[in-house]
Point group: C4
Chain length 221, copies 4
């Protein structure tokens, strides 16, 4: 009955009935808000791609020369998409919130929502060491906050349920620290050879495989 | 009872009760996220429309001269709206997710979220062959990813339920490949006559009719 | 039981169980998408407000001179907020969707999502007749689409339930046409005196009162 | 049964069944819309951070010189995050809506959605008195609207349930007025010493502690 929205004038005035009380739990609002920030950040990635201002005849070449911006767009789309999938997965196991989780989640969102900026720098400057380092640092910071969030939620099963075994919890703690390590390690490399640092990021592919293993585990129960 | 959000301190500490566990399914989060990206991308289409910088007296004419940007806005609004409707329809039949679906869906969103860029190029350069080709290529890519997604979900009824007959599944597979074919075919045409390529896009109208047929089928059961 | 998201590996493979089927109805997705577009458009209104580029000492005055942009922001916030409230109200009575409703709703969203552009023009040019006319035309178009949507949904109770009396339906049809009439009528006025046209928009206040009457009616049942 | 979305052709035509009626309550739509505006505003904060246009070799230094923009981003992220948490908390207790609440909430959202602008000014001009004052005034206005909203909802338990004691309601009324007072008081200080005004904002930390106390109270029941 509370699923029906039709106005119920008499009961609505009485306090024992709550026809309009929200049925969205606090944890659901946290998840919706996080999904929203991920969705907006991932969609804003397109904004810094610049429309070339050239003579009509040169537009084709100018669009092709833009390739660094498309690469940065694609890379950051994969990164934010990967973190969204991780959020999606991890919050499947979280059954309670506390104020540390809420704050770590906000800090995580601050990192995610910041990514369009280093992406724009990378798209503009390409294999410049400062651009590559700024990008790697942003993603390493995001990964560190993720690890902290998962560590907080999972250690001693503080906020998670019994679905996962202890071994699975530990293995996810290890997996989660991989991204920040790879990206942090690429910063000194970028001082010497920015292209080599970008190649290190291809470590995203084994990380993608790690996410695949997450899914595989879930389907096995 | 789990519909009531009122804090229940004692049970909350016990692990057998889950008063704050999210009730949003994984597939629902996928759908919300996709709706969010579509909604954001469609609303960002307005941002590249430039406020003219002219003398006060010339504003009327300058706003009218902007018509190419309004046309590009309207066209991309129809395109993203069409793809959102398709998402809306197709996910009505999807009852399970797997990791391929999740990734194809992210790839699709990357295409949708990219559309404001070729739209801005088209609005700026109009019937330039490079602008027309870039726009057509973006939409053809989006349509190809859609076809892949539907093919993956529907072949062998991998992720869909029994609502659709085999004939309906096949007919949707054919419908879905129409948009990318029309837009891909318009690319070589644009090399010769960009205006003719834009006229080909009026093939959107029969495609709209195809969506109508989708709805008609649904109402017949 | 379907409210619990815990993976249920064996049943998930069987077709008769649907543990992950979305529970979001098609009409709900339409409403979420519409809420999303309204929320994004209303938040994008801030983007065209320009950060002054002046000497440090002149910043205070430059910020104050920006008042036209703040006025345009506030005005459009009220307008989009008003239309969102109307959407909120009207979709309370809509119990079915059809493809005309879906398309009229998309057309409405195209109007709403376009509003940041005329707002930016108005903020930049102020009481210029072309800026005032473009703004008024955009809002008149939005209002016309709204009237069409409500007329379609309500005539012959095509898509609405029995909550409203025939008199209430007609009175809402009249109310809905008020905004486009006021804004359309302000366009010729703006050719002569743009300030007078803006004063006509204060007709928003009686319109606000009309929304109040909507609420009053609902609370009476 | 209404949880199943499968098309039910015959009943759909009959008026006594409502297979597609939305199950989202009016208060839930208000909350979703508010979450959306908070999420968008917090994510738009990144847009004004400017990609430096310098020689390749100077990029590292130019990115470092950008620190005021990162500071403004972080500060406003904390502020909007704080207000979102407050919304999250307060709407836990609100069980009814009325038109004053809906309008105060819209006014609040207008304040929140405006924050990216003073943030951009602060990021661009830093410790300029006008920039600091504009920022403080925006946040003070946001806080005042919040206080009005909470006062309206809670006085005489107009829109809230019985979960809170009278003492808790009053203590939240006091807490809520703290932010606007601190920020308003920093405006005259900024005329003399803008840096001192920014230090006053560190009063955000005790405010954060106040939110902690909110949570502590909830967990005690």
């Amino acid at each position: 009955m509370p699923l029906i929205r039709r106005p119920q004038p008499k009961q609505a005035a009485s306090r024992s009935f709550e026809p309009s009380r929200s049925r969205v739990s606090s944890l659901d609002r946290l998840i919706f808000f996080s999904d929203g920030v991920h969705a907006i950040a991932i969609t804003l990635l397109v904004l810094p791609i610049t429309v070339p201002r050239v003579a009509e005849g040169d537009l084709g070449r100018a669009l092709a020369d833009n390739w660094r911006e498309y690469f940065a767009y694609g890379l950051s789309f994969v990164v934010i998409g990967f973190y969204w999938l991780l959020h999606h997965r991890v919050f499947n196991f979280i059954v309670r919130e506390d104020r540390v989780l809420v704050r770590l989640n906000l800090l995580l969102l601050a990192c995610i929502a910041f990514l369009p900026f280093p992406t724009a720098v990378l798209g503009e400057y390409g294999s410049n060491w400062a651009a590559v380092s700024a990008y790697a640092a942003s993603i390493a910071a995001t990964g560190l906050v993720w690890s902290a969030l998962w560590w907080w939620a999972s250690s001693g099963r503080r906020l998670i349920d019994d679905t996962l075994t202890d071994g699975e919890i530990r293995s996810r703690q290890v997996d989660g620290i991989l991204t920040p390590i790879v990206f942090a390690a690429s910063i000194p490399v970028a001082q010497i050879d920015p292209g080599a640092a970008e190649i290190m990021w291809l470590a995203l592919i084994p990380l993608g495989a790690a996410v695949q293993r997450y899914y595989a585990r879930d389907s096995r129960g």
